[in-house]
């Protein structure tokens, strides 16, 4: 962390980071992550604002509505801490809080929810299909996923602190969008690997009848063509199919 501003003590940073793990603990439809962000900021505010009035004002602004991707909220928290340490005006911090949430949400959704999580999940399912035991499969998933997850949180706070109000510029040079694209490419490859392992291998071995394998290829293609709108109807159709078979002995 650079030398323009006195860095926060390690114990304060550790407490802010630990509390950021609960940023969604009281998620609600009014202030979203607002109270969680205020909770995470408390150790830093307590350290930076010795004057009770200044502390109260700072807590007030950090309890305002706020929402970002939970993992990347540490980026925002790092920036907020820096801005508080630099004595930025109340108005400037409030406007920054309002502006930064959306982009961090979109960036995190794309990198974590739409790429890293499905990649780790698909790889874990492949490991299971390849014969890895339950304990090792789950352990591998948790260790790999959370290595990325926790690294992102720690990196985020550090970047946020170093960038302060210049977070947007800093994020552009961090190439998170490029990282998302790389992870997505691996995900696409892993999806293909899963299809090869789960459908083609058992079919070639004669363990999966050709009509079932054909149906599997067709529904996968349908998912790719029709997109997210078929996800819920498909789950509902599976439930209805199970209920129908139970009730009427259909397809027997």
């Amino acid at each position: 962390m650079d030398g323009d501003v006195t860095p926060l003590p390690g114990s304060v940073v550790a407490r802010v980071l630990a509390r950021s793990l609960l940023v969604q603990a009281a998620w609600n439809y009014t202030s979203l992550q607002g109270v969680g962000a205020a909770f995470a900021m408390l150790p830093a505010l307590d350290y930076l604002h010795r004057d009770p009035e200044a502390f109260g004002e700072a807590l007030q602004r950090h309890a305002e509505p706020f929402n970002a991707h939970p993992y990347l909220s540490s980026l925002a928290l790092g920036s907020f801490c820096r801005m508080e340490a630099e004595g930025e005006s109340d108005d400037r911090i409030r406007r920054f809080r309002t502006a930064v949430g959306g982009p961090l949400g979109a960036l995190g959704d794309r990198l974590v929810w739409a790429a890293w999580l499905p990649l780790c999940t698909v790889v874990a399912v492949c490991l299971y299909l390849a014969g890895l035991g339950p304990l090792w499969t789950v352990l591998a998933f948790l260790v790999v996923y959370n290595t990325g997850h926790l690294a992102l949180r720690v990196w985020g706070f550090r970047e946020g602190w170093e960038a302060g109000i210049g977070l947007a510029v800093r994020l552009r040079s961090a190439h998170l969008a490029n990282l998302s694209r790389s992870v997505e490419r691996w995900l696409v490859g892993a999806l293909g690997f899963l299809v090869g392992l789960a459908i083609l291998v058992p079919t070639l071995r004669g363990e999966l009848p050709v009509p079932w394998a054909s149906a599997a290829v067709i529904v996968t293609a349908l998912g790719a063509i029709l997109g997210p709108r078929v996800w819920r109807p498909t789950a509902a159709a599976t439930v209805i199919a199970v209920a129908s078979i139970l009730t009427f002995g259909f397809f027997v």
């Binding site: 969604q24 603990a25 205020a38 909770f39 339950p134 293909g192 090869g196 789960a198 997210p228 439930v239």
Partner: protein, 220 residues
């Protein structure tokens, strides 16, 4: 006693889903395996968790949106499958887990609406550290309570209903598994579409298929 243990597990996975850390213990793959371990069959847990995982692959908590609770779905599915061993229990478990997980996801909406009544808001008056701490604790308790209640109720219902229903299930293990996988594979296609259907994505997907084929063929 195992019902209580599963309900507690449901509370933990509900917390992990959004409110606390999000280590993804709440994903069906992990929650199913843990529930299986509680019930003495971790392999069955992983199998059901993997099937549910395929269904819920696109169900991620982006933007605070409501999604089925995959962790609770997996625990309840395991309770059903363990209560009625065989293909019928597997089918009932997955189908029942999907329905129950969806309801548990709706329960999260209630918790989030209730949270709005106790969080300190700046426009309602001065915010104190004590009020912030209180809201965090209440939010965690509500989320854990949701998990315990939904999972406990689901487990009890699954244990009562699964054995008699599963006894009438007419299909054997393989077609049952294939039927369930068909539903899950749609999500695989949906996730692929989300990454774009361009030439590069198709080449990568094709390379993955070939590698999967080779790896699977040579593995045994």
């Amino acid at each position: 006693m195992t019902a209580l243990a599963l309900a507690v597990l449901g509370g933990l996975v509900a917390l992990d889903g959004a409110a606390l850390i999000q280590t993804m213990v709440s994903r069906p793959l992990v929650a199913g395996t843990l529930a299986g371990a509680v019930l003495g069959d971790a392999a069955l847990g992983l199998q059901i968790g993997a099937i549910l995982e395929l269904f819920l692959l696109v169900g991620v908590p982006a933007g605070g949106g409501r999604m089925p609770d995959g962790g609770i779905a997996a625990v309840v599915a395991l309770a059903a499958a363990a209560a009625a061993p065989g293909a019928g229990g597997l089918a009932l478990g997955v189908a029942g887990g999907l329905v129950w997980g969806d309801w548990a996801g709706r329960g999260q909406e209630w918790v989030r609406s209730w949270n709005a009544t106790h969080v300190p808001l700046p426009d309602r008056g001065p915010v104190s550290p004590a009020a912030v701490h209180r809201s965090i604790v209440l939010g965690l308790l509500a989320e854990a309570g949701r998990g315990v209640v939904f999972t406990g109720a689901g487990v009890l219902l699954a244990r009562a209903v699964a054995p008699p229903l599963a006894a009438t299930w007419p299909l054997s293990q393989d077609p049952t598994l294939a039927l369930l996988l068909l539903g899950g594979l749609v999500s695989v296609g949906v996730v692929f579409r989300g990454r774009g259907l361009g030439v590069r994505a198709s080449v990568l997907f094709g390379a993955g298929v070939v590698l999967g084929l080779v790896a699977g063929w040579t593995a045994t």
